[in-house]
Point group: C2
Chain length 127, copies 2
DNA sequence: CGGTTTTTGAGACCGAGTCTCAAATCCCTC
DNA sequence: GAGGGATTTGAGACTCGGTCTCAAAAACCG
């Protein structure tokens, strides 16, 4: 019981996510899937994304309109630097944060929970 | 033309916001307003919050369910350290970030847009 | 192929947020 | 404090992202 099947919808979604290092909304994925000739229902898109996120194979983030977006993501713990211009996401190692975390604690008595940091700006190619 | 009136709904909302340094959702404000005997319609709550945000007198943020939340905010540019436990918000001066911003640029070629940073963790009294 | 389990899709449903427009409020003047 | 023009409000319809349901379809296994 509780076995997992490999299905066409799941593979089609994974393929799209793996192709680009950026966040996709469910609506965006549905549109892409329609175009690519393998339409998938909204319900299934949401279910699949939720499943990937639970397994740690996708990162979830809410965009500035409050919509859930997802990105393929297989490494360990890290943060995201998101380009405002092209949407490209670059991973930021935790080490880069250490001195800042120290200051936050000594200046503000604030103990940072490192699992929720996200940075916005311009990437190499968009500066 | 285009004058601004001071009305009871607006004053009631401002009063609630000013009383605590944390973010309130529109639903939360509606409930508080009902309790306090000056009920205000959802439409008006949203309009008032939008107006405050536009004038820079309130900060907008989306919570983890994608709902818009608002907090009274009258200082200049700064970031927020938000306590996961009590919701209390502490302002973080930009200076604390300088060395981190440098590293982000040299290591990742990423130019941080400093206007969108937000930190989560535990505040002094909740650690 | 046949049977069992998992997955899918269509569409109903939910809830946050927006929009509309007539009625109420504000404020200025007399 | 009454009159009147400009602004604001409230009730409720509406939109849209996301969830839920359940019968039908697909995946797997012998």
């Amino acid at each position: 019981m509780e076995t997992e099947y490999e299905t066409r919808p799941r593979e089609a979604i994974a393929r799209i996510l793996r192709a680009e290092p950026r966040f996709f909304s469910a609506a965006e994925l549905c549109a892409r899937l329609d175009e690519s000739g393998t339409p998938v229902s909204r319900a299934t898109v949401y279910r699949t994304l939720e499943r990937l996120a639970a397994k740690g194979e996708a990162a979830l983030r809410l965009n500035d309109r409050g919509e859930a977006t997802f990105m393929s993501c297989d490494n360990g713990h890290h943060h995201h630097a998101i380009c405002r211009s092209c949407g490209r996401v670059e991973d930021v190692a935790c080490g880069a944060l250490d001195s800042f975390v120290d200051r936050l604690r000594s200046l503000h008595g604030f103990q940072l929970d490192e699992h929720s940091l996200e940075f916005h700006g311009k990437c190499r190619s968009c500066v």
